[in-house]
Symmetry: C3
Subunit: 471 residues, 3 copies
Amino acid sequence: MKTVSDSQNVRFFSLHHQLSIKLMITALVVFLAPTHVHAAAEAEAGYIFNSFSFLLWGALVMWMCAGFTMLEAGSVRTKNASVICLKNIGLYSIAGLAYFTFGYNLMYIDVGDMIGTFKFFYSSTDAELALLAGDSGQLEAVVEDGYTTMSDWFFQMVFVATTASIISGTLAERVKLWTFFAFTFVLTAFLYPTVGAWTWGGGWLDQLGFQDFAGSTIVHSTGGWAALAGAMVVGARWGKFRKDGTVKNTPPSNVPAVTLGVFILWLGWFGFNGGSQLAMSSAADVVAMSIVLVNTNLAAAAGVIVAVSVSRQILGRVDLLAVLNGAIAGLVSITAGPDITNHVWAIVIGGVGGLISTVGIMLLERFKIDDVVGAIPAHLFAGVWGTIAVCIVAGGTLWVQLVGILAIGAFTFIGSWILWKVLDKIMGFRVSETVELLGQDVAELGIEAYPEFMLMPDHEEYEEFLSDDTK
Amino acid sequence: MKTVSDSQNVRFFSLHHQLSIKLMITALVVFLAPTHVHAAAEAEAGYIFNSFSFLLWGALVMWMCAGFTMLEAGSVRTKNASVICLKNIGLYSIAGLAYFTFGYNLMYIDVGDMIGTFKFFYSSTDAELALLAGDSGQLEAVVEDGYTTMSDWFFQMVFVATTASIISGTLAERVKLWTFFAFTFVLTAFLYPTVGAWTWGGGWLDQLGFQDFAGSTIVHSTGGWAALAGAMVVGARWGKFRKDGTVKNTPPSNVPAVTLGVFILWLGWFGFNGGSQLAMSSAADVVAMSIVLVNTNLAAAAGVIVAVSVSRQILGRVDLLAVLNGAIAGLVSITAGPDITNHVWAIVIGGVGGLISTVGIMLLERFKIDDVVGAIPAHLFAGVWGTIAVCIVAGGTLWVQLVGILAIGAFTFIGSWILWKVLDKIMGFRVSETVELLGQDVAELGIEAYPEFMLMPDHEEYEEFLSDDTK
Amino acid sequence: MKTVSDSQNVRFFSLHHQLSIKLMITALVVFLAPTHVHAAAEAEAGYIFNSFSFLLWGALVMWMCAGFTMLEAGSVRTKNASVICLKNIGLYSIAGLAYFTFGYNLMYIDVGDMIGTFKFFYSSTDAELALLAGDSGQLEAVVEDGYTTMSDWFFQMVFVATTASIISGTLAERVKLWTFFAFTFVLTAFLYPTVGAWTWGGGWLDQLGFQDFAGSTIVHSTGGWAALAGAMVVGARWGKFRKDGTVKNTPPSNVPAVTLGVFILWLGWFGFNGGSQLAMSSAADVVAMSIVLVNTNLAAAAGVIVAVSVSRQILGRVDLLAVLNGAIAGLVSITAGPDITNHVWAIVIGGVGGLISTVGIMLLERFKIDDVVGAIPAHLFAGVWGTIAVCIVAGGTLWVQLVGILAIGAFTFIGSWILWKVLDKIMGFRVSETVELLGQDVAELGIEAYPEFMLMPDHEEYEEFLSDDTK
């Protein structure tokens, strides 16, 4: 807390007159008493600022979950829209409980090089509890921490939920509900916390100097790698890639819902990046936070503009979905270094992100990887780019950044691959062909997302199912 | 910046005497003057923190109204989706105006045991107005209040709106627009403020020691009792309960909209419970607020997980609607005591809430009570549970909590019952059978919610209408 | 308030030695040093409060863009819903980049009477950058500014985006995508900043005493005038006004989406008006901010209630769309003077706004102006009313307000008219008749907003297209 240290470093003017030692001591005591009180009050204000920053920006990050839900529910075909809603509210709940039960401790408590402490649950410090119980003598000890224990936990928790949210979109329309939930549990209780321990927890990558302000790699690429592993293990949706090599177009069923989702994410990202300043108790902090919000917005805007401009060239038409994904890619790209002071670079970085995500969609299709919402281009590809871009003006060292990208990528990808395979053996990964044809909503939940609306049957898919030419 | 200029303009007293006792006093005054200035500045900072907490968290509670709207518009059949939108924006408006005109004064101004003051309108204090007019001498008097008068009003106002929101969902698809508005006016101007006066206003229940941190009973059960009374007076929708004893399934018409509504409520609840700490000016306050947000999130997550787990057993399938309602029930359950420091209990309390709401849906159907959105299980049943749960670790006394639950329940239920009956005589409560068959949108508003979409006619209902076997 | 009582209880140590005058001076110096430190800390807290207010309320204003998007996507026919989504995310991106590149400097940097500085880009001050780089000696210089440079920029940027948002709704369903984007660029880079320089930038209207707290005229009417000019240049949609003089009803395709949009706008308006207090560092600021939020809410509520009451008389039925527009009109009306301390006036002002917007819809139709979402009544008409209403109790001078309204109206309307005409020559303003018939989604983007849903073909329009009787 800057204000504390400032007042502790007060320069004293020389006192070169005769004074008795006792007098000096007396004067000092007089002087120090209120100083001490004020310093404490200032530290307390800083403590409130920091904690409130975590709570409020954290609440906006939680809101991103609604963004992912709308994006995904609008992107999938209507026959799977209810299940994706359930997966999203379920994953947020699982993430919160798993991170409370195991994840936070593994990520942050006594991390050596690799991993923190395996220990159940998390709670306020003894000093905080004593203060709440009325022991005002604990005030100083509490305030010394800089922020409340649980505000920090809250902010960290919503981040792990974001990681999990990325995966549900890629794997929509074909992954079993309970298998997805089981994966989410392991991801949020163990995999993400391990990556987090290496970096934000102070582990080996952090010691190496790896920089990732709000998680281009730690959050977004981690989610993207897990999604990629899942997409490769589970395979493409029925009929997505035809035998003749063509790609079946699966347009979003509800475009306004997707758009709303992206706006929610954009808003939530102010909390995601802004709150990652991790403090708001000094002028410097709030200067940095302001810069972060501005860069976040500029990068997203640039991602939109680039995507709208290039989609006509690359994809043959102005592609709204590519544009919306461009916004997300712009946001992911700036997330590793949103505190750069030259905002023109934020525009460049976000714009390149928009280009990458637009090209990335085609690239994935070429490799016959079926990513329903384009999460891999937006979160993984743009996340890698953003983490490298830290080297341009945000002070990253290229080889360190590359080591971080590769290490986290390898760990998450391989770990997820194995986990998906294991879960496939135990619970089954993919729904049956009949379920996929009927849709998970009717088959797994017994409801439809829009039961009163007349929908067009997908004849092509039905015929493919009958002729079975994609198996 | 007032604080800077104030402290720069500190007036110093002349010091031109040999040191003596008088001088010592002078020195003390000199010393005290800036102390005073700083103390004032610190108090002012606390005043800002507290007021801003009310404004910002209050804005999030207002946002819950959008959540109820989406939840309800997605839950009703499309033929009533526009009217429910109108009811919701109308009720929020009526609640705000009624609470401004009567409600707040009845709830908070000079409450003895039972009720406050019947007096029109509400406004800032004279000291605040003088300060705004430039009389900086009023600063101390203003700051002494702890928060701005109108920020407190704002926060209280959004709470009364929440109570009203609960009712519209239960009674959807059959209650006349203007009758619902009339009920809302009386509820928000008189009924809720009476309950509020007994408790948060300092009345007899508060004196007894009744504890309800953010309103499991005061807000949510009150809304639930009013909804229950209305549901019993108005009866079930056409054909909901068939003569043969079976229950007609009326699935939500727009599942993603319902899901969005629940996410909005979840986000808004951080404001609902977090802001109910009522202060943010000390480290203890922000420690408590952090704990409140964490518990709120954990309880909701537990409600989801329990509902998703038990719905298969209880309802025969994984029921997304039960899961979404489980989140709300978890939130309602923790609302009476979200400041408990052992977070594992928050999980238990929220989880039990999710169980109660899931069972409650069946229970209501057994009693042939037609609650369109499941608001009674989520808000009333879980609200009662939450208020009792305060006795576990949050320091409530069982008999006092039960007295509160019963007194508020009896008052609200009977008052609402009478009011619904009176309104039925005067204005008519229920729409005609033809309106119900056609839908309120076309019949009352002359529009459809989704006019371009082809909808499936509900043949069963039409046949029942013709055969008239439910009358 | 803990901090107050603590400092009041400062214990003093006895001073029982003789002291000389010099010693007193020494003591004074000692004493002043920490005063300085504390004053700085208090100023720093104020600096944080102010900056955070910009960031947070600004984020809520950004959220209004999602509100406009939902409102518009739900209001247009489904065949144009995707394009309107693209227009909205595009305009927000363009506005942000244009304002960064040119707009802000033109509006705020060295404005004489008419316009600021033509200069590229904007960034933090040197003192801020030095502080970030670790030079803590810059703290005082930084804090002296009152708020961070970029938080102010962020808050101003979201306002220009709001102006642009207003236009897309009025001109929906017939304006070419790229022409709209080009207009948005000029509007946000040059037109709006000019209006802004005259007023908030300190130019001639500000010197005259023109009052517009948060932009009833500067933001909302400016958007409304630009929309009106566009609507007159581009003409009505195909078949909106029939040869026989009757008006074709074009109901919103998705009423819940429109309702959600209005709730988002309402929430965002707390940021729009509340943040326009421009400071939160003193008790007076937060008193004013609280009043602003309360008035904002009351005015919107009154707009709703008046619109719901009069729409039956004026429009022949309770018109949900008029009611939703009434909320917006209430909000726009209070925006010029939301800091009035007599809240009853806020109700009156908002209520009149609701009346004006409801009447305004009919008025526009009489003049055969086709405003798809009713933005001109809600933003322009109510904006003019709100700016005049400042004279009632908020201290405005009638002739000055009228000069402001007329000058800004003339400049924006004529400027926009010319710009639309020029763009029409260069790029074409209106889509072809075939595109209009097919819808812009399919024709310009190659997608549909709801591709799986069966939609009802608009036979009337098709026949009009064939018979060509509206040309």
